[in-house]
Amino acid sequence: MAKKPIGPVRRDFTPWESGNAKPFIEFRNVTKRFGDFTAVDNLSLTIYEREFFALLGGSGCGKTTMMRMLGGFEEPSAGEIFLDGQNLAGVPPYRRPANMMFQSYALFPHMSVERNIAFGLQQDKLPKGEIEARVQQMLKLVKLEDFAKRKPHQLSGGQRQRVALARSIAKKPKVLLLDEPLGALDRKLREETQFELMDLQTELGMTFLIVTHDQEEAMTVADRIAVMDRGRIIQVATPAEIYETPNSRFVADFIGSINLIEARVASRNGTVTRLKAPNLEREIAVSQPTDANVGDTVWFAIRPEKIRLGFDAPQNGTANAAEAEIWDIGYLGDVSIFHAKAAEDLILKSTVANITRTVERPISWEDNVWLSWDEDAGVILTR
């Protein structure tokens, strides 16, 4: 688990906002085609030094392909990739200052743990003593001191993953590429390792690029997340921004749980935009700025935990409330999810924290309830 407070170090780490920070890794209009299939589609991306950056997307959306282009195992069909100001075109993998932790670990089966870790250092022709010292340091870091002489096939999945990690950071590369590094681990170990990765990144001061299809993992470890879909980047932002202000229905739906209501822009009054959904009686008022015009069809997106649940109709205002019938209840221990039927074709989800241990819930199946939310609780999506 995290032993050091990482908050203070990372809190003011926002080079992407400064405007004049030098990009460390840069994808410029990169396209990768396999035959006539486009795996990565005209993609541009900037990553800063010492950033922990996550590529998040469903299986087959091109994450591994992006990483392999950065590692040098695939050449882009079009576009350029820069690393620390150097155009990487034509630079073979063994001359790139990036190291990769492979999705399959790719440990050398005929070498012991320590020889696996030493392999990269030997390529640099470091003096023997230095290599030994560094290997010991790495073994200690990943807590595998007792397994130095074992072969990979004598290790458990979690231990192998640690060897792969140790091997990829042993050379202290400028950039560490992690392709679904924790995929093979069970949930507990995965969470632990996520925090260890964050510690490690702060400690070593390297730039980490992690690929994952696990949104929780991306939100936990990353400074910024790029959400990908079918070879394109849909949104790049901090975890909180991605969650609270998604820029599209895809992102809103991909990250966490969301209620999406199709509506028309009824009026715009200063900062507040009012929407009219055909299947809701009351209007929806949203304070989040939007560029939608009156008459446009848009989607109102609101997270389940931001919808309140009560028996009484909200007193103030004529907007942001709906009468509904409880359709289904999911008890998850920490929270309960209520599925409330607000209209014939509209079921809204609301999560309520279980702050007491009462087993008997005040709200039950088929109860008539009122759903309500604040003006700043949801966002308007135009795509």
Partner: protein, 318 residues
């Protein structure tokens, strides 16, 4: 931990499997054993028995012979007549140990040459586009469709003084006079390498094809250029295939007769040839049997090594 649990589980599973073996199961095992008994072990004992006998002008040309009519007494006399004289003889005439030594030498050299030619071949096949591989594999196996004997005869046509090779070399002007290759040891090497190449390429191809390409990518990623990764990753990981292939060439090549007989010359000394002339020219069945038994003993060492290696390889895969 997985690794400590796995062997234990194996040990427990094995007896359970044994107990469950049905009559059909036993029958299935009995067939290959019966085959080995009738076609290998029994002939071997006959040969061994002849090697302890004495040459004679008779049919068959050795003494004693078993005659069941003579009963128990006759059998006892027969056994009393056995001697290791033929084996002692093998040590007294330099021809024999020279033949053995020369056979092992020729077999080892040809194995080395086969490896040098076969490794790049197998490597190229394993790295070829997946769609081509079945075709390439087919090309390696294709010669087996023609009789081995005919293929060796064909080499006579290629290697002889006015043969294809010399004509080709003369016509492009590389040489002024035909090279004498046929009936020399060089022709024997060519014949063995050609004939046994598939036996080396096939197991080697099998291991190279299994090699995980991401290992080479990982090596490259860690700063290792491809030629170095070949020596540090590909070669060590293909070693089981190399060893298997080399044994499969070396073992039959030691006792090879057809190739030295057809392509070799008078200088070519190989135990197969010695055995043949002992048997057919001298009609000395007992001595030629002794030669065969010693040949087998010499080959037991590499065969056991080969079996061990196969065992270890299959255990590793499991």
């Amino acid at each position: 931990m997985v690794d400590t649990a796995a062997p234990g589980a194996d040990v427990e599973a094995a007896p359970a499997l044994k107990r469950k073996r049905s009559l059909g199961g036993w029958l299935l095992i009995a067939i290959p054993y019966a085959w080995l008994l009738f076609f290998f072990l029994a002939p071997f004992f006959i040969v061994f028995k002849i090697s302890l006998s004495e040459i004679a002008v008779a049919i068959p040309p050795y003494l004693p012979t078993f005659d069941l009519a003579e009963g128990w007494q006759g059998l006892r006399e027969n056994f009393a007549a056995f001697s290791f004289e033929n084996y002692i003889w093998l040590t007294q005439d330099a021809l024999y140990w020279k033949s053995y030594l020369s056979s092992v030498w020729i077999a080892a050299t040809s194995t080395a040459i086969t490896l040098v030619i076969g490794y790049p071949l197998a490597y190229g096949m394993a790295r070829a586009p997946a769609a081509w591989r079945p075709t390439l594999l087919m090309l390696v196996i294709l010669p087996f469709w023609t009789s081995f004997l005919i293929r060796v005869y064909a080499w006579i046509g290629i290697l002889k003084n006015e043969g294809l090779l010399n004509q080709a070399l003369l016509s492009i002007g590389v040489i002024d006079e035909p090279l004498t290759i046929l009936n020399t040891n060089a022709a024997v090497y060519i014949g063995i390498v050609y004939s046994y190449l598939p036996f080396l390429v096939l197991p080697l191809y099998a291991t190279l094809e299994k090699l995980d390409e991401s290992l080479l990518e990982a090596a490259s990623d860690l700063g290792c250029p491809p030629w170095k990764a070949f020596w540090k990753i590909t070669v060590p990981l293909s070693l089981p295939g190399v060893i298997a292939g080399c044994f499969l060439v070396f073992i039959p090549a030691v006792g090879e007769f057809v190739i030295p007989d057809l392509l070799g010359g008078s200088e070519t000394l190989m135990i197969g040839k010695t055995l043949w002339s002992e048997f057919f020219a001298n009609r000395d069945w007992p001595v030629s049997s002794a030669v065969a038994v010693i040949l087998l003993l010499i080959l037991v060492v590499p065969i056991v090594l080969f079996q061990n290696q196969q065992q270890r390889a299959s255990e590793k895969d499991a």
